[in-house]
């Protein structure tokens, strides 16, 4: 059970946040936190890819945009948003599959460049094709019906339910990833990260494992893109910019590269600050500085781990590893 300590802590914090915001009278923070949660979801996928499979992808923004734009276009055309969602996820997975198969067999920087290129293509396409909204993007995207009358939407009345939805989703992702990492496939993945030769010798099909991880990362970005688009009611070409992909990279780096919980925390905090405008015009630059700083100071990422006294309180035992 101790492996779930990060999930439990996250849930505690998630419950406490709305209490604090309503006490402080800043309920509108919940809106930005909800958005930050979706961005953090995309970062989580990248964390799995970068921190465990050891692959650099600069395409998360591209997949995010694929999720968002396909959802937006199909929903606006009248398709049930849930179906549109499925279409956008499958599209992202397919494209990741196509790019991934040849490129993952090559050295790391090839994937980095290929995904950077992919991101540039997506951005140019969504910005240049009028049918995709051009520079203004697509707006008036309908709500996403979740269950019954609960929708993913950006209205003020729906702020709290949507906060819950987003944070539940993220908690779920955290849960699922924690399960993965302590499973057979997760072990294979971690082994690839530390010694690919040993993993191969033990029978792990490393190319296939990396491909699956790449697809997972792409899908997580697409899910985030799709749902956030419904929340915001719009999407613009800026979401596809390679600069955004680099943001995700910075978040994963500062969170600890192989640290799921750290990436989540970094993703929430940094995106929230960015969305609140704290970084001003230096928004992109900040993430660049963070990336460089982390690489110099702690190339393996900061070892943000939950202090043992906290895990002890929760599970009654100390972390052994």
């Amino acid at each position: 059970m101790k492996k779930y300590s990060s999930v439990l802590i996250f849930l505690c914090i998630a419950v406490l946040i709305p209490i604090f915001t309503s006490l402080a009278g800043k309920n509108f923070y919940l809106t930005q936190l909800t958005m930050a949660a979706y961005y953090a979801l995309a970062a989580l996928g990248l964390c799995l890819l970068l921190g465990y499979a050891g692959q650099i992808s600069l395409g998360q923004a591209g997949f995010f945009a694929i999720g968002g734009y396909i959802s937006a276009i199909l929903s606006n055309a009248g398709l049930d948003p849930r179906l549109a969602f499925i279409v956008s996820i499958i599209s992202a997975a397919l494209i990741a599959f196509i790019i991934g198969i040849p490129v993952l067999k090559l050295k790391g920087h090839y994937l980095a460049m290929a995904t950077l290129g992919f991101g540039v293509i997506i951005e140019k396409l969504v910005r240049g094709i009028p049918a995709l909204g051009g520079a203004d993007g697509i707006s008036n995207v309908p709500d996403f019906p979740l269950i019954g009358s609960i929708h993913i939407t950006g209205g003020r009345a729906d702020r709290m339910p949507n906060y819950i939805i987003a944070f539940t989703l993220v908690a779920l992702a955290l849960f699922v990833l924690t399960n993965l990492l302590s499973s057979r496939s997760g072990r294979a993945l971690r082994a690839i990260h530390e010694s690919e030769d040993a993993a191969s010798a033990a029978g792990v099909n490393t190319a296939r494992t990396k491909l699956i991880t790449f697809i997972i990362a792409a899908v997580s970005a697409a899910v985030a893109g799709s749902l956030l688009t419904h929340y915001n009611g719009s999407i613009g070409p800026g979401e596809a910019a390679p600069l955004k992909s680099i943001r995700y990279l910075s978040i994963v780096a500062v969170g600890g590269i192989s640290n799921i919980a750290g990436t989540l925390a970094a993703g929430l905090i940094l995106n929230f600050l960015s969305l609140r405008g704290v970084f001003g015009v230096y928004d992109d630059a900040v993430f660049g500085v963070i990336l460089v700083a982390v690489m110099i100071l702690a190339p393996e990422g900061f070892k943000l781990s939950i202090p043992s006294w906290i895990t002890k309180k929760i599970t009654g035992r100390k972390r052994s590893t």
Binding site: L177, S183, E194, D197, A201, A202, I212
Partner: protein, 268 residues
């Protein structure tokens, strides 16, 4: 605890357990392995020796699938495994260790050994993420087998320790456990005695002979002559990529050419 079962498949045709035919590998202009052929019989310990640069490691890696040969063939249990990649070799029941021990340092010891059960299980990403019944039962199965394998090398008390924190000799044993946990048909050992002191080498020698008694077949590349001479059933000697001698230890020790190429060679 009935862990000490027999290894290996029931194979009637003894002569084609592992068969290397005219295997060659060039690196640029260098003939690292030059048309080497030999057969290995089941349930034997077959050593490959030779001076530095003789091609032993290349030959080893060719068999293990980490590099591909230029010509020749390798067959195992009547199946051609020449062009298989290393992960596919593992699925054939052939497992190897590394001279420079390759463990996942940040994973626990037991997890490292559990990795060795990869070919015996099949639950994937989805099952792992969703905690499917299959994933959970396979996990228990892998953990149980890994624990037995660890106990077999005497390291079960370190199961939850971080693998990178253990001394080198123990790491060697963990890697061995990882290679053994899936009950290999053929075990490839890459300079297993490298970096071990006298006592550790003795323990290793004993361990290898125990494995053979359980039915395992072992191919090893090694520099330590005392180890090789003591446990080998057959020795193949390479020099400059070519096979120059093959036979039982006592024959090899008397072989003039072998003596000549080793003259002046430093051996611990």
């Amino acid at each position: 605890m009935d862990y000490k079962k027999n290894y290996g498949k029931e194979e009637i045709n003894m002569s084609s357990f592992l068969s290397i035919q005219n295997l060659s590998k060039n690196f640029g202009g260098l003939r690292a392995v030059d048309s080497v052929s030999f057969d290995m019989k089941q349930n034997t310990i077959h050593s490959v020796i030779g001076p530095n640069g003789a091609g032993k490691t290349t030959l080893f890696n060719l068999i293990a699938g980490s590099i591909q040969s230029d010509s020749g063939s390798i067959s195992f249990l009547n199946t051609d495994i020449t062009s298989l990649e290393s992960y596919q070799i593992a699925h054939c029941g052939i497992f190897r260790t590394f001279q420079a021990v390759k463990l996942s340092d940040r994973m626990s010891v037991i997890e490292n050994v559990m990795l060795g059960m990869h070919t015996k299980t099949s639950s994937g990403f989805l099952g792992g993420m969703m905690l499917s019944p299959k994933a959970r039962s396979e996990e228990a199965y892998m953990r149980e087998e890994a624990f037995k394998a660890l106990a077999d090398v005497g390291l079960e008390q370190y199961a939850l320790e971080e693998a990178g924190s253990l001394p080198f000799g123990s790491q060697r044993m963990i890697e061995l456990a990882r290679a053994l946990v899936a009950r290999p048909s053929l075990l490839l050992l890459d300079e297993p005695a490298s970096g071990l002191n006298m006592k550790e080498t003795e323990e290793l020698t004993y361990k290898i002979s125990v494995l053979k008694n359980r039915g395992l077949s072992i191919l090893l590349v090694e520099h330590d002559m005392s180890l090789v001479m003591e446990i080998s059933d057959t020795i193949t000697v390479l020099n400059f990529g070519k096979k120059i001698a093959e036979g039982k230890p006592c024959d090899i020790q008397k072989n003039e050419e072998v003596i000549r190429i080793y003259l002046g060679d430093d051996n611990a």
